[in-house]
Amino acid sequence: MNPRTTATGPAQAPQPLEVDGVTVRFAGLTALDDVSFTVAPGSVHAVIGPNGAGKSTCFNVLSGLYRPASGSVRYGGQRLTGLAPHKIAALGVARTFQNIVTTEGTVGDNLMLGRHALTRAGFVSSALHLPHAVREQRTHLARAREIAELVGLERHFDSPVALLSYGDRKRVEMARALCLEPRVLLLDEPVAGMNTTERAAAVEVVRTVRERLGLSIVLVEHDMGLVMRLADEVTVLDFGRRIAHGTPDEVRRDPEVLRAYLGTGADSTGAADNSGAADTTGAADSTRAGNTGAEPSGAKNSGPEGDGPGTPGKEAA
């Protein structure tokens, strides 16, 4: 649609992100059980599943916050498992958080934090206002403004993040992740808690970002409508296991998926109902809750996702 791909980002093409047999255990509870999938370069790959399926755990493994008990994550030829989060970030894997985690200051300050791995100015050169530090700050600030424009934040660039609306703060998170010039962008529930207008805008932003920057996007999302519209490929998790994989259409018809969401072996008419019912977050959740209420493991399994460091509720101020 827009031929500015090379003008707004480095020309380096993304490489496949391979998740291979990853298992994560929390004190006897298996949050991820031998999960494998590959994110094709430049594609949008959705990871879906009911609450507690292990989606956020999966993201925390990808960004290096958790170390898996076994299995590996590779980006191109580089093994990511075992690397510290900041090293993974420097390799071009950026993420957002389910509950917004911004830092104090303006939108610009937050975006410039995203440039951390790409900039060099240290304590001494910043303290003494050395020319190269000043110059670096200026050029990267210009790029941060471009990215703010890309996601539609240019008006708010100098406003404190705390004063922005929920939807805009979500955008700040995405823009900050984009400021790393990532080759792989991990979006953890990018439209959770948004109203219809905000949601539509967010979908537009994800589309634009993908077209302009040509990066791979891994998406965790409850909103099935959004997943079906955006994703090229879908991986479905349930109780930490991969239960289905394929294009949105294939996954929609998969009996395993229907069972996970509805708790019954539904037929093809049920599939149509399901895709409609699961179109909103609330519907998908309540379906799930209604059917797993009787299973004790359902409640137990939602533990690690809620408590993990990837969901730092106290930090989201």
Binding site: T102, T103, H116, A117, A121, D158, A317
Partner: protein
Amino acid sequence: MSDAAKPLLRLTGLLLPLLVLCALPFYLESYWLRIGLFSMAAAIGAVGLSLLSGTAGQLSMGHAFFLAVGAYGYVWFSGDPGLGLPPVVAMVLAVLLAGAAGGVFSPVAGRVKGMYLGIATLALVFVGHHLMLTMDGVTGGFNGRSVEPMEIGGLVLDSGHDDLAVLGVPFGAEERLWYFGLALLAFTWFTARGLLRGRPGRALVALRDSETAASVMGVPVARYRSSAFVVSSMYAGLAGVLIALSFRRVVPDYFGLVLSIDYLAMIVIGGLGSVGGAVAGAFFVTALPLVMAKYADQLPLVAAPGSADGSLGPTEASRYLYGAAIVVILLWAPDGLHGLVRRLRLRLRREPSPPPPEPGLAEPVNPAPTTLPAVPVKEHTP
């Protein structure tokens, strides 16, 4: 205001306070200058602590230890039982020594955070006090040591040897040290602003607000935590040197736990994480007891120092006062003096001009002085 007038206004806002500060030694007696000097020294140390506790969110109770390292380091590097180096070199080495002391502690500072670091640094104060008392050869033990005066390009910043007078005003130790302290404070302000507005400052803020976010944004968490500690120790070291120079004697008892707590009070009163706030808080906490001591006889309910027991001395009175100040600030202005000034500015700026959304909302309280006040301005003497 018009856009053309703005830089002019900024420049005036920058030069005017500087001019006033440079003119003060011509008008004030040495008692007030000494208060100013102590406050400047405290301001430098407070900026360091503000960087660590305010910006990076790391509580430190050990600031007094690093002040002591700076002060005793200077004395030893420049003094007789010691290396006897030129004072300027001794000062630089003392700052580096304080930084190194912070570096030695950094394996702890890198791993332990928040409240726990506060408790861990508590140990430093006690270890430091013990060392100051026992290492007689270096520290002079309980009685401490006298301090070599600073000497810059042949000019000794001390009274006595020459009868230097500028524009008819005799320039003693306080007058000379005043400009030196001012230069150090300006340097501190300049560097701290650079740090805070640059890449390291943003990383430290991220560290405070969310370690997880900081790490996935590419910030090496442990390294930045220890770096913040080292930088803060170096500012403390510089403050220690100026404290030693202004007191002209260093004694172990000064560098106790109460001093650490005073510094915490300074940065809370001033507003966490702001350079201007730290400086303002430092002046408030340091000058208040001394000013009250000066006017003790005129204040109601406050007795002169050393009068009958049971009466309220000026030191106690000022402690009550700044204890009350902390409570008032925590209740009404949690972002301290700095936040108070900023909100006042915003309001003033908003009322007269109709278009309120002005870029550069987070303007500094005071622009950083970028020139060092090396030469006193020519003022008429009284």
